[in-house]
């Protein structure tokens, strides 16, 4: 409750009468002060009672045009308020958009309650990716005499998810061909009791008679049994590279933007399959996030948040700034952890500054990707799937990482962003671009040829098509008459 100047003016009047009465020893003045003091108390009581009644009966609806938007997009917020019939207070309701939004000046998002039902709508732009919450709208109430004012949250809070701006022509495939299977789905390569038919083989002594496939037996004239793919719940470890090299590319279409989409697809797939997935992000100087495999809804949300916040990070500039000795990494982590549950205005204000800071979990000077895969693979079981999302700038390191990831029975999928498809002016010389791509493709094939390893290219589909079609045209020109009769 905020007393107004008018209130304090009358309090001063009460004080004047009371002190004056005591000074000149006149009871009449003191009684006059008591009359005004009692009147002020009554006004305050009336205000609180009216506010209680109003908050209990006011009908406020805050609706967002979309629950999920892309960073930089706009969302329309509609605020509809129905004024209680029996209120003596002057009322206004203001929407409370989250920090970081632009647009929606306070007059635009405020509804002054004149008539019975009032509505306003305003547009907000959300330039930063993440989960945001629109606080409950604030009801501002002033009594008819203008003595008191109070601001009370009413209605319900709304949340919105802002997805990072994603590339539009995503290509994932091999040698220019798109892969057909969904990301995150993988065969177990083990036979057993399951639902997916795998193969039919001849009956051998010791096989359960119930497993005989009678149709196949009749067709092939020998007893055959059908085998099913063993259902497993594999653990997936995502290793996402966000070194400074991943910043290559146009705004919103960098290597990291493509890598992020691949990683998000795996997280989404894991969420729908309820499988365990962990995330390890790698900067130029080491591991920046190490989130062990888990399968809770909160864990999936956290992975999405971390991936959404991922930015290219180098060894010198960003990392050294975040590791300035005024606050150690551990202190930063502890502060961020303690602020995570702090719902006070202090905590809410400071949290974004700590969340935005990227710090290294493990500093690794040499070959951070391979070292990170090695470190984390030791803590995973032998059948874990390792998904490595990186670029092709350090091929030796990738090969090392793959070797470590496929130890035991581990399966490895590598998603590589060919640098030639991202470099500015990279397609000016299509011949050179193709040669660079051919080199990349050769490297990718060499990875794919390894046992339990699949390697894919990730990049802008149109640019890849341009490179490949230019080469096709050149071949056709080089062999005129070929194909014609």
């Amino acid at each position: 409750m905020e007393p107004s100047r008018r209130y304090w003016a009358i309090v001063a009047l009460v004080a004047f009468l009371a002190v004056g009465g005591a000074a000149i020893r006149r009871k009449t003045l003191i009684v006059g002060a008591a009359v005004l003091g009692g009147w002020l108390l009554a006004q305050q009581f009336r205000f609180v009672r009216g506010l209680r009644s109003t908050v209990g009966t006011v009908d406020i609806e805050q609706t967002l045009s979309q629950r999920t938007v892309t960073a930089g997009d706009s969302v329309t917020v509609a605020l509809s308020v129905t004024k209680p019939a029996l209120t003596t207070l002057d009322l206004a309701v203001t929407a409370s958009p989250p920090l970081g939004t632009t647009g929606g000046a306070e007059p635009d998002r405020t509804v002054a309650l004149g008539g019975q039902e009032t509505t306003t709508a305003f547009e907000l732009s959300l330039p930063v990716a993440g989960e945001f919450e629109f606080d409950r709208p604030r009801l501002s109430a002033t009594d008819a005499l203008g003595l008191f004012r109070a601001v009370v949250p009413v209605g319900t809070a709304e949340s919105i998810t802002v997805e990072p701006r994603a590339p539009r022509d995503m290509h994932i495939g091999e040698a220019g061909d798109r892969i057909a299977t969904g990301l995150g789905e993988h065969t177990s390569d083990q036979r057993g009791s399951g639902l997916e038919p795998a193969t039919v083989r001849q009956y051998t002594a010791g096989d359960d008679v119930r497993r005989i496939d009678w149709k196949a037996t009749a067709r092939l004239n020998h007893p055959h049994v059908r085998e099913f793919e063993l259902e497993t719940d594999p653990t997936t470890a995502l290793f996402v590279d966000h070194r400074s090299a991943m910043a290559t590319g146009r705004d919103g279409q960098t290597k990291l933007d493509y890598a992020r989409e691949v990683a998000l697809a795996f997280v989404n797939s894991a969420r729908s399959l309820r499988s365990r997935v962990g995330l390890y992000t790698v900067g130029d100087a080491g591991t920046t996030n190490a989130l062990s495999p888990h399968s809770s809804a909160e864990h999936y949300r956290r992975l999405r948040r971390v991936l959404g916040d991922l930015r290219p990070i180098g060894t010198d500039e960003t990392a050294s700034r975040t590791l300035r000795p005024r606050r150690t990494t551990g202190e930063t982590s502890r502060a961020a952890a303690s602020l995570a549950d702090d719902e006070s205005p202090f905590g809410r204000t400071l949290r974004p500054y700590f969340d935005a800071r990227t710090s290294y979990v493990h500093r690794i000077a040499d070959q951070p990707l391979a070292r990170t895969v090695r470190q984390q693979s030791l803590q995973l079981n032998d059948t874990a799937w390792s998904i490595i999302v990186t670029d092709d700038t350090n091929r030796e390191a990738i090969r090392d990482a793959v070797t470590v990831g496929r130890r035991g029975n581990g399966q490895v999928m590598v998603f590589l962003t060919p640098s030639t498809l991202f470099e500015a002016g990279g397609l000016a010389d299509l011949k050179a671009a193709y040669e660079a791509y051919a080199s990349f493709e050769s490297f990718r094939r060499s990875l794919s040829s390894l046992e339990r390893v699949s390697a894919f290219e990730v990049g802008p589909g149109r640019r890849l098509s341009a490179v490949l079609s230019a080469q096709s045209s050149r071949r056709e020109r080089a062999t005129p008459g070929r194909g014609s009769t």
């Binding site: 409750m1 100047r5 008018r6 003016a9 009358i10 009047l13 009460v14 004047f16 009468l17 009371a18 002190v19 009465g21 005591a22 000149i24 020893r25 006149r26 009871k27 009449t28 003045l29 003191i30 009684v31 006059g32 002060a33 008591a34 009359v35 005004l36 003091g37 009692g38 009147w39 002020l40 108390l41 009554a42 006004q43 305050q44 009581f45 009336r46 609180v48 506010l51 209680r52 908050v55 003596t88 604030r138 008819a144 005499l145 203008g146 003595l147 109070a150 601001v151 009370v152 949250p153 006070s344 205005p345």
Partner: protein, 156 residues
């Protein structure tokens, strides 16, 4: 009915308030002998100032008169008239229970102060008691509002 907007407070004199001021002014004019003009002065002040200020100035005028110049009945009439204008000041939209709330609060505070004076407390003690009652009452309502509307811990 007249309405004024001053820099301090905006209130209106309703019919009851106008009647209250007339009663108070009449009681002063009729019973204060040669100082009866004070009643006229109160009427003029009531036109110029909003009710809370009118009430304060009314009490100043009462003090200006010799206490012996007013009979107890006239004093009660003046206080009742001023109180009526005060009740009416908050009664532009008020219903009966608002008037009851004002009369109860005023009665309580005046009762405490008057009772202390009657029991022999000094004037300063009574003023301290007045400050205590009003301060505690106001703070209690403020805390109730914070808890009732879940505002504890917020900056509002």
């Amino acid at each position: 009915m007249s309405e004024r907007r001053s820099g301090f407070v905006t209130v209106s004199h309703g019919p009851v308030g106008v009647l209250g001021v007339i009663v108070a002014a009449s009681a002063l004019a009729v019973t204060a002998d040669q100082y009866g003009l004070v009643g006229g002065a109160l009427l003029v002040l009531a036109v110029i100032f909003p009710p809370p200020y009118t009430v304060a100035l009314g009490h100043v005028l009462l003090v200006a008169l010799d206490p012996n110049g007013l009979s107890p009945a006239a004093l009660v009439a003046v206080e009742a008239g001023l109180l009526a204008s005060l009740v009416d000041a908050s009664a532009s939209t008020a219903r009966g229970r608002d008037a009851v709330a004002v009369l109860t609060a005023v009665g309580l505070v005046v009762g405490v102060v008057w009772g202390s004076l009657r029991l022999g407390a000094t004037h300063w003690t009574s003023v301290g008691l007045l400050a205590l009652v009003v301060g505690l009452g106001s703070y209690g309502l403020h805390r109730y509002e914070l808890v009732r509307f879940d505002l504890v811990g917020t900056d509002k």
